[in-house]
Symmetry: C2
Subunit: 190 residues, 2 copies
DNA sequence: CTCTCCTGCTAGCAGTGCTAGATCTAAGAG
DNA sequence: CTCTTAGATCTAGCACTGCTAGCAGGAGAG
């Protein structure tokens, strides 16, 4: 029995190795640099072993994305719980979200622009995803009035997502980022 | 002289042929189906002629994107000028924007998620781009109070962009789209 | 009618994601 | 302790991508 558990453990370790290698490579050189050959070289195995762990490259990106959601959830939670006042919390969470996207652009892309086949707003969505959205939900909850909580959260989230994505490929002037963020938050804390 | 003008005209026609072929192919089968070989076959020329017109595939996508901005500007203008009341105009323009993204997903992608090298919020941005943004600007103008017009417009635009992009790859529940849109608009018409 | 240029083509390169078949290791049976 | 068998891993290759060098062939100029 123990020999099989050792094998299973080694397999799991290698799977983590693949995901972290993909993540680090993407964060340092962008997703274009993450090829199956390059990734195989990085983990010191041949290409086909990747396919014994994941269905394809998209599945690897999805796994990286799930890790990203766990990170994001953690950072949002820290921002939310650091402040008592609900409006200040909203501002802090919004700033944390924007900062996350700015500092980890490749990771953010994997989470939101790529990896379409990741189940999301459904019951079978990975826990990390629900947790990240849950943080936004708890931030918005004290400020909700007439509107539906989920709808309000989704709309606020969309605003943040739009800000960071449009700015990231030069659609918005980089200088006024703070003002736009403040404006968005003010419109959602009333 | 006239012989050279004929050649120039034929060249321009072929260039338009390339762009419209790329656009139609993308809209009917997605950007993954738009390969240089497929595109060459579609216009009944060999691959290398594409490179005598455009620097590469990205440049073709950028040309398609510019066409898309002209379309978007037209639709936004129609929505804006159809209504007299500023708040209703904002709602109409927001709905028109979302409808555009929903009906032309591939075109929308070319405009906002791909084609990074397209000059945007600068002076050398193509006129169609400035026109499209200008429509949003004129819609927001009557509703601006304490905030800066450009910043307010950019933030509203980000909200719209976030809504349509997050919904398009399953990040948001499709059913509540109208409610989110209405909520966003209400937060920006006060 | 000849020469020249230039347009558009064929063929090919380097790289991509992915997979079939061989190989080699290591576990289990006698 | 040996032999067989099964599973994990690798080598080699497929079909495709964007892009380009270098060659034909027909246009225009003289």
């Amino acid at each position: 029995m123990s020999i099989q558990t050792r094998r299973a453990r080694e397999r799991a370790e290698r799977e983590r190795l693949i995901v972290t290698a993909a993540r680090e490579l993407a964060e340092s050189e962008g997703w274009d640099a993450v090829t199956t050959r390059r990734l195989a070289e990085e983990i010191e195995y041949s290409q086909p072993v990747l396919y014994s762990h994941f269905k394809g490259k998209d599945a690897i990106m999805a796994a990286v994305a799930v890790e990203g959601f766990a990170d994001l959830a953690g950072e949002l939670r820290a921002a939310r719980t650091a402040v008592a006042d609900p409006r200040e919390a909203l501002a802090a969470v919004g700033a944390a979200y924007a900062l996350f996207a700015e500092r980890r652009p490749a990771l953010y892309d994997a989470m939101f622009t790529h990896a379409v086949d990741l189940p999301f707003a459904t019951a079978e969505a990975p826990p990390a995803l629900r947790e990240a959205f849950g943080e936004l939900l708890e931030t918005v909850r004290p400020l909700v009035r007439d509107d539906d909580l989920e709808t309000l959260t989704e709309t606020f989230w969309s605003g943040l997502h739009g800000l960071v994505t449009l700015m990231r490929n030069g659609r918005l002037r980089h200088a006024d980022h703070e003002r736009r963020l403040a404006l968005l938050i003010s419109r959602f804390s009333g």
